[in-house]
Subunit: 355 residues, 4 copies
């Protein structure tokens, strides 16, 4: 009894896709804070990127971000035969564009030197041109004078560290001593540097993850695997530029890239518990108790090393309700390691499911 197919006149695509709307990313807030989704490292035609600065805001809105910094290289201007060097150009072009869109734009620039010290983003600055100094130390000094948050970029980038291992040189230690280094990229583009976690803990620095995008975000972060763009999650008091800045200096950050979340346990633990809800058992008999765990977030959680007699691993898919069949033999607390929530160079988050 094959159905006759009659295509009714429906109204799909009556309206265009909605230029400039901000997608909702499903990530929870922490108690007392709002979670801002940020990318603090990207380029435009004003250094070695290939897009106009407004593109970076359009991309960010479409991807659900709250804030970006455009960080064109101060020392590298390969398009200067066609575009005169103006280190504040992207900022000038995007300031009003961001404000009209209720979007937070952070004024930034990339100090681009050989290792040591490597590359640094100066964020929350007021005039990038003044930072373009011959001496890197002068550049640091000027940035700090402007109130900058200094972010060490991709410290294990093989083009600058052939073995891929981040190293603290004297100049980094001097920055630390003066309190001028505020954060380090744990994740950049397709790379991450486990050792950075130890650095950030030891020196009390913010953990950062950024795209460092030179090309087109939608072409680099989609494809068959449909990977989200990397982002730094910042726990700010309110959704504003100044509150974002305060949170960054206070180090209240986590990093999300692919299906991995990384952050200090003091943030990772409450964040995980805000993402999930364990419901009351819906069925039980002599052998088993069945209950559901709801993961309201866009991040999957891979639970491994389950308590004795419990399921050895559980995949809490993003935006899904997962059923758990628990043997009555399990009497101790139901604890797991969350394989994809990193809390240290070699540590993952440990959680308990209370049903």
């Amino acid at each position: 009894m094959k159905r006759q197919i009659l295509t009714s006149l429906l109204i799909a695509s009556l309206f265009s896709a909605g230029f400039g709307q901000r997608r909702i990313i499903h990530l929870p807030d922490l108690p007392g804070y709002v979670t801002l989704k940020c990318d603090f490292h990207m380029h435009t035609v004003f250094s070695d990127g290939i897009v106009w600065p407004t593109v970076r805001i359009d991309e960010a809105l479409r991807d659900g971000l709250d804030a970006i910094a455009i960080t064109d290289h101060l020392e590298y201007s390969p398009k200067k035969d066609f575009i005169p060097v103006d280190h504040n150009a992207a900022w000038k072009i995007d300031t009003a564009y961001a404000r009209e869109r209720n979007f937070i734009l952070v004024h930034g620039a990339e100090i681009t030197r050989d290792m040591p010290p490597g590359h640094f983003n100066a964020l929350f600055i007021t005039d990038a041109s003044l930072i373009a100094k011959d001496s890197v130390w002068d550049a640091f000094e000027e940035a700090i004078k402007q109130g900058a948050f200094l972010q060490w970029n991709h410290p294990g980038w093989k083009a600058q560290q052939s073995d891929g291992i981040p190293r603290m040189y004297d100049i980094h230690k001097l920055l630390l001593k003066k309190g001028w280094l505020h954060g380090v990229e744990f994740f950049n583009d397709t790379e991450y540097y486990p050792l950075v976690f130890t650095m950030c803990k030891h020196y009390n620095l913010a953990l950062l993850g950024n795209s460092d995008c030179h090309g087109i975000i939608s072409e680099e972060y989609s494809g068959p695997a449909n990977i989200n763009r990397p982002m730094t999650l910042v726990f700010a008091k309110v959704r504003s530029h100044d509150s974002l800045k305060e949170a960054m200096f206070a180090g209240r950050t986590m990093v999300w890239f692919r299906d991995i979340l990384a952050g200090k346990e003091e943030y990772a633990k409450p964040f995980f518990y805000q993402c999930i809800a364990v419901d009351r058992p819906y069925f039980s008999d002599n052998d088993n108790i069945c209950f559901e765990v709801t993961n309201k977030s866009d991040i999957p959680f891979y639970l491994i090393n389950g308590t004795k007699d419990a399921p050895p691993y559980i995949n809490l898919s993003a935006n899904s309700v997962t059923r758990i069949v628990l043997s009555r033999k399990v009497t101790s607390p139901l604890v797991y390691d969350v394989r994809n929530v990193l809390t240290g160079e070699k540590d993952v988050l440990k959680v308990e499911l209370r049903y």
Copy 2:
């Protein structure tokens, strides 16, 4: 300064996609009710479908439904040379399967006759075999005896109504007179019947929308346009079989298909306001006030016919924040028609945005 690409060892797809998880559909509840997502019309190999009954539950979980009814034809068994006729087979096979998965299975069957009266689903029955009677009236009587909710299927199906216009014949009026008709399909597969809206209002019947799927859900409702499967939204007191049944008989339903939502205004209006939130202005000057409208649901809303001097139309994309730039010339309330929320045969929902 092209980035060196180093593919780190990430853990994507360490775990499988999570067999049997229930996706979260982002639709709000109404005050005092929980919104159950349901499909009350589908087939299996036990009539003219092509899949085993458990497939229907796996599909429904993956698609985020709370309840389904499998409604194999009582009078049409094209596979009987290979499969002996058992009108309760799908129910027997799926009962435990549903319970283990915390999924609501409604016992159903399709009474399949020429027009009049056409096809009817008997839902919430206890024994489909007893309903397989020679006389359609005997079938109705037995269904009602079992406590059935009687749903008139695709009343404008051209194979039975060559002009596509639903018509009440004497037998339908007799059903109505006895209080035996409880709902009508407004949407079925790819068809919808505007006139059904008027019928449902006039006779106080539940509006229903179902897939009537014979094939494979993921192949029929995805494709280039990535259309969601049609569903009946039922506003139940709690998430349970009995509460679902109570809500159905009380007519607390809406229908969602493609990007269209349909339902009586008493449900459509509060549902819309639960989906959206109008935020306080983030920017204003002498000419304009700028504010954001958040649509937390998976349904886009197409606003048209705006108040004088306001934007004539606004697309509140699903799961998105939309910015609205409002001229200060607008002093009357900001009202719109919601083009894709149908509240009658020729009516759409009227809403006001209070900023």
Copy 3:
């Protein structure tokens, strides 16, 4: 007997996606000619586009094109506060880039005036700066002096023709009289202008279809419907810049946009027959003859108005083999209209399937 899932160590994505490769578009050549896939209208940061000129070549290679022209506006330079006006900039930047990639770059510019005469692309020029004259007629004259092919862009664009109907003004007639107008855009971005077909036939002009892209090709031409970018097909003697130019002036073009192919019958007919192959019957009995039609191209063909007793319509999907069950009652030739191959303002291609 559920299968155990063991993910073998496979090598997918061992290598990156292959920067700079040219995708093969499956379109046939015409006897004696090679089919070049071209887009003769697009913008960069050097006028009101948002990408660097090399992006246009990268996009074109990925999409399988053989040739493009970058046609930045001569009279519209909204980025001039940041980028000094140089009408040849994109050409200078892309010349070597194209040559290294075996890609044909056509030197172009868009003469951008109010209607009349509207917008014109000058193609195959030698110095765009010389064409930037105050008087549009001086601009035309200089372009022609450089050997330009003059293409009238989007003649029914509502921003310039409020009723959307292309009109020949005196200046257009003068161009025609002097032999200075060589082609007209039948398709531009999301618009097409049926009347242009009649113009092109009457005045013997080339029919053209282009993207007029200002943004990012992969974002504008993909999405849910996965629409290919529009292109002009040029039937050239060989795959070279000069041969392309000769073919353009000779008017040997067709236009492909979405699932529509448009062109004069002298090209459309042999092109269709190069796309398909009718195989010998694989089955027949007293009632029917069954045979297959292979469509080797990336364009679907929608056949309608079939001969009496034949299937009334046939969808020859792209890259597919379609089975046809033909009644023995059909004795006349099997002819169809190809609904999506336009050969005139109101005409579609008529074809015969010889089985």
Copy 4:
């Protein structure tokens, strides 16, 4: 000069997707042979599958296959409470369905025993019921009597071989001695068994790769990675059932799964050269010669271990033209290993690019 967007009335989706069409897979033939794309292992509701037998043909046509065998288990009928056991049911249901669609259906059944001997598909049989014997040897004997091609299924399946290593037991050796074993699955579902390559070479058996699908092909072989279903390529004299059978017994097969192709060198080498074409140099200077390699097939080729001074690896993407920049320092033949074309347990194909 942002473009006005006017959605013209286009005709996309005027016609449905074309039920029953066969997609073209772009794979070349070998000289003297036609390449048939086949899957010789799958299940339906008549054993432990979940779909009706016609679904398997619809799936195969859509995926571009030429032939399948449905191989329901002879000894495992978990649905027998609802479906009486008939080992020929799928064959009876699909025979006419296949013929009408010009599709090759191979009569098959799976002999399903503990290891040893494990599972075997009997292909090209005439009556599956007669093969359902208590003794596995009797089953083999009857299958051979019917002219069967005997295929040993997933010999390293961990459910039967806990270490995953295929082993020849006495019964296998006896089969070999009698000439009753004709092929072995090198690939099954998501597993492959390198050792099988050595077995097939040593005993002169056909290498086979199949889906062993129990569920729904489009759900198992698509997803984020968009993986094609596994298939056995058979080099037959013509596209017919009997020619397929002849080719299978002659061992003229290769296996394609994910992005891996596997087969004996005598087939793999000419197959590779039929897929690619090396074009004449399009550019050269004192340092380099630039030429293009066209890969006309749907299989990418990953070339590694390039000749000294040549590019160390080249990714010849599927359906793409790849540019190669070759240093003039290279004077020896340009040879590569093709990383994803397996010609033995530990061997990959070696090729030369002649430009």
